[in-house]
Amino acid sequence: MDLTFTPDELEFRDEVRDFLKDNLDPDLADRVRNFAHLSREDYEGWHEVLNKKGWLAPHWPVEYGGTGWDVVRRFIFDDECNRAFAPRVVPFGLNMLAPVLIRYGTEAQKEYYLPRILDGKDFWCQGYSEPGAGSDLASLKCAAVREGDHYIVNGQKTWTTLGHYANRMFVLVRTSSEGKRQQGISFLLVDMESPGVEVRPLITLDGRHEVNEVFFTDVRVPVDNLVGEENRGWDCAKYLLTYERTNSANVGASYAALGRLKALGATRTRNGRPLAEDPLFAARLARVEIELDNMSTTNLRVIASVAEGAAPGTESSILKILGTEIPQEISNLARMAMGPEARALRDESSTDRKLTRDDRAALNYFNLRKLTIFAGSNEIQKNIIAKMMLGL
């Protein structure tokens, strides 16, 4: 079997490449390539570039500002952006909240929030996990009690990615403790500037500030900010998770990382020879390259079947597992390739040269441990496959 793009699709790919060449700031791409810190302005600036072109929300319905691209074009677009080291599009508003609003929101909510996501007025973050509710999300405790036209929210959320950049948060709260746990959960939109919201940084093992804890103390949220029905927020949550898990293979990003790793193999040495000629390193590199080539085709096969009308099902769990283990292994090999130099915890202020991806190889390795944990840990994905696909 051979999966090839049609001439139209290839033309589209060239159009995307040209666009990226003309519009992606090389300095920004360089920082992405080298795992440098990205500011809120970096993300917002890239959103603005895409929005100007009308390409910020490819998967939204056209009437709300989507592009009308099919699944193949959306894949090509994501893939090319990854290969060009464009910053990732911050997914919380665009890829997670927006589909929920379009499906479950009121007309007023759609009219107000969707344009603000596109033009960057709002920066959203996600309020799902709690200290006691990780993989077992339905055990969440953060509570909202109705008082007139408001909910009063008390509790804590955690692992809030980019919460320190956000001005709004969509939150799963407990509105009832009766019946099944899933049936007492509601989906609320919270203004982070409301009194009683406190964001505290959680510094991760690589020394970075990406995630946060968010505390709610008697925070008043207007009832108009409820999405869907009270106690039916689990429907929204599940719907959102299916979006969170699409396109998780990130093939283009892994090819980009592999290319850098090969360059490292050519310049680093072992036993006085280029590292690439070391048989054990060569074997590890070859294994992950073959896995990646295989995954690339696995991903295209899934896209081809979705393009033919099949519903994406457990395939997205398979791609999530492959698409996280492979980049982890590439980052592991990059760490090993750096040898004794991997240990130095370098910082921009302590050197007069620009730090590269290679300087941060060990930190990146540790940072990427998150991949197999978030968005439904890989163990949860295996449970899903065992149940849904194998009927076990």
Binding site: M1, A286, M295, R301, I303, L322, N383, L390, L392
Partner: protein, 375 residues
Amino acid sequence: MQLAYNDDHRMLSETLERFVTREYAFETRDAAANSETGYSPGLWSQFAELGIIGALFDEEAGGFGGSGADIALVFEGIGKGIVAEPFHAVLRGGTCLAAGNDAQRALLENVIAGESLVTLACCEAGSDYVADQVGMTATRDGDGWVLDGSKIAVPFGGVADTIVVSARTSGDTRDRKGISLFVVPRSAAGISGNTFLNVDGGASADLAFEQVRVGDDALLGNADDGYAILDAALNRGLLALSAESLGVMTVTADMTVDYLRERKQFGVHIGSFQALQHRIVEVIIAIEQARSAVANAASALDENEKTAARTLSAAKYTTGHTGRRTAEEAIQMFGGNGMIWEVPVAHYAKRLVMIDHELGDEDFHLQRYIALGDA
């Protein structure tokens, strides 16, 4: 997005699956694969009538297929039923014949019709999986040649009517230049064979060539230049083995999942145990990756030599690795029942592991992949 499988491919695949399911049930297979000849001449001619052999060769060679997709589909289907008939022998030998003179190509027509068998003898004691290590010699003798030496593990080498054999006409043991191919009748004076059944069914033979005299018309292609033909035949052989492995592992995993659903211990289905669930899911994911590797190999077959060889090695490595894993997990999850001759999964497992012993195992192909690399 375009798929290279067309309606003809789908029909071929369905025809083969129907035939294997109906006519090649486990008991039939068990009897044929372990009979004296290692196959069933009756069933073999039915495969020929259905056009399954012809699908492996292009029209010029007298077939009606011969693309990477054709080969992959046929061998995946064969794998699903662990068909032990001489498909690999005729693919490798036949691909060589197709590059030969008119008389040699006429031999292939008989093979496609199911009326005779051809095989390829290119493996020697000590050559491991390397086809350019050729110690057997062919020396000029008047208008003809004299062949001397021996070959091992020749698929169906005891019963094939025609043998394509590699021999050295010049150069040193590992030189590619100097290898020539000869088409020799199995009945030629001076050929003796030691035939044996394989662990996984089917038969092979070690063949000795003592002062075997052949005419100049036995030479296939040009003298000293046989390696390219040999290499092309072995590349097709690699695709076939990888695709077969994919078929075998798909059915092995299906059988294992069924068993996990049925088998009860401690009052529950063993498939309810998470320790087993996660392991079988890992096997399923690895098989999806192997399916992609075979697809890549099928489409790379006709690309430039180096790309094709590298992609074929990637597929053989992937299926070798995943095949063994699938086999071992299947036997472990079947418990004692996976150890019994009359339980089919045991034979699927044997075939999966033994495929790794044909034309190069996972380590051999990982090294070949590296050697052909751009890094």
